[in-house]
Symmetry: none
Subunit: 222 residues, 4 copies
DNA sequence: TATGAATGAGTGTTCATTCAT
DNA sequence: TATGAATGAACACTCATTCAT
């Protein structure tokens, strides 16, 4: 993972990865002794929760490496479970895509929440954009299918836009208020610009770094 | 289509579109009276050539609007021919994808050849990048499938890279030599940056314009 | 429930329903203090017995309303138990179907035993046929699957035929001996005639009544 | 096939069977040289038409003998074609069921049209009812699925009811007007009565004959 | 040559059944 | 013992590709 000089090595791929697993498992296995998760859904058994988490991360990996049109059978096999298990957790292909996507968005939200209080504006933005590049890469393969299925105005999409645009706006305007990036640019422009890089197949980390540098330079007040 | 101040309205969408059709038909119906095309392939009958051309342009349109996973049956129907005719011209799905892609690359090559002698470096680059945005948008849906099938080192990919990188390098280095854009940037960085924008679903022309502006600003010597 | 003029309102739907539940519970919870039921099978705990009974009646209801192709998962859920519990009592789908069917047959047997000593021949027949209509309606959805699985000559089918044909024969021949219905008719003809009506989807009680009337008229000596 | 004394042996199973094949083929291959069937649908190629017809009759047979829950793969195999061919002609399971059902209804309509001008009322009714028994037997397995899918008020169901009820009404009222069957009976009662017989599994021809006799006797003025 | 019918491997999904908790 | 998670065979359906017309 790319990170700027001065950025804490805290934000490494490994760390993010770990955080993600962590979060997912937490989500489904509260530490309390109640029989219900906080949102009222029945609590999953430990092994079921593990399977669910494994499926989401495996699906993300497979979608990212093999493309969005892999068979669910492959995903199940890669996760080491039967196809029936996949379907128990995700009753349709769409449900799996949605879970993967929602997970990615959550990671972005958390990254923003960690980075804002701990870094100066431009640095924070750059770190977050680096994360955005990574997670947008995952999204590339599943987004179209997802949008076509659930619709642009679904709760999923509305929520995700809200989170991502919200965090981007927060980070960009913070940098703009500090006078460190030009003001004739919207946070969405920045997202598009950066996100776009990841959409081209086969980008390598070094190139991304160089590109992000160009973008940050282009963003500075002229 | 986007064009910079002072740029000739020559480079309009309509003009590009026309050029594409024109070129394609030419390609398959040489003006000579022989029974063979210059490369030794048997010459196509006029209607067959028309069918072939129709199929390629239809496929491009369908892939662009419906996504890369449409059935060939749909493509054939949209082109007004039977599936058998499609297969006569393109013995496999891949052959059609390849033809569409090759066509797109050709258009880019021609645009570069027209723009270099007629415009100052940065302007020429900006025009060509605008064209690149348009044509990359088409490519988005078929590229992954294509690469996965033919491999990154196939003749198709090698040739296309050669053409596109070549033209990009030509245009970028020309601008760099004129001292008008920074020198710590490669032409491929530029391509990735610009191309990426079009990969995000739902980009509108105005946003693209704004983004291209940021890119051009980012490219100027700091 | 349909009943002829003069027939005691004794034989109401409610009464039958009650009898069914009653009998089932009895079957699995003998009054003795031994650890075994009379047939040597281990005695069920009270709650297990209740589960078993609940499953059979629920299954009957679900099969009747939703059709014979509902999933056992649905049946279990409708009965308020887990699928594992269902399988503990009925090790295969077939076992459940069989239990439901056997239960229905038992009800018919009991009805015959009540009606014979208490009504004149034709009246008794008509009452029993009315009951037969009701219970055959339940059977409609599961019979085919059952027959295909256990075979026409299985103990289940032999036993059921014996019971139903036996009771029908008893009632019909009693009426024939009384000279009140024609003698060139077998009890099985009567069953088929009456049972068939209920097999057609969407029969209403009034139409059934009219049809039963026709049948009874057709049965009288010409 | 059952037929009463005096009824022409014309109406044998073989004859009906033959008529059915005949009709279906006619339907899709008009004798004229036009490219369209009378209803505007494109004409089927001879072999395709043969396949289609084969599929419908095979499906009928398989549904009747094996039940309505056979796999379409089995049907295709029984018809000697690939599953793809089945789906070309019947894009969904439902379409096949519908075709089979529609075909059966057509046969009933034709039988009525043949029998009315050629037989005295009661005889005509009895012949038609015999046919009705045969064809209702086929329907038994597919009707529920069909109704649940297309709805009771679909064109298919409305049309079929219209045809069958219409013909039954015609035949029954003709017999009632001739004073040969009782007037307190509706044609639908008769249908239900007769149709019901076929709904019970495993009816044999002789029993049907005996039952039809009872019905006819029951129908006579008392 | 153009057409579109036929093919069958592959995919999403369901559900009876088994088994770990 | 009761539960429900896991399993995988089976089915409806799609689509790239072949081939008869």
């Amino acid at each position: 993972m790319y990170y700027v000089e001065g950025a804490s090595s805290y934000y490494t791929e490994g760390a993010s990865g770990y955080a993600r697993e962590e979060r997912m498992t937490d989500e489904v296995t509260p530490v309390t002794g109640t029989d219900e998760a906080p949102d009222g859904a029945p609590r999953l058994r430990a092994d079921a929760a593990r399977n669910r988490a494994k499926l989401v991360t495996t699906a993300r990996d497979v979608f990212t490496t093999e493309g969005g049109d892999v068979s669910l059978e492959s995903v199940a096999k890669a996760a080491g479970v039967g196809i029936g298990t996949l379907y128990r957790h995700f009753p349709s292909r769409l449900d799996l895509l949605e879970a993967v996507y929602r997970d990615e968005v959550d990671v972005l939200r958390e990254t923003a929440e960690k980075v804002v209080p701990n870094h100066p504006p431009v640095e924070a933005l750059e770190i977050w954009l680096t994360a955005f590049v990574d997670y947008a890469a995952t999204k590339r393969h599943i987004f179209t299918e997802l949008v076509e299925a659930v619709g642009r105005e679904s709760e999923l999409m509305t929520h995700s836009r809200e989170v991502i645009y919200g965090k981007a706006e927060l980070l960009v305007s913070r940098a703009q208020e500090a006078g460190e990036i030009r003001s004739d640019v919207t946070s969405q422009d920045v997202l598009r610009l950066v996100g776009g890089c990841t959409m081209m197949p086969n980008f390598d980390r070094e190139q991304t770094q160089r590109i992000l540098r160009i973008v940050m330079d282009g963003l500075r007040p002229q």
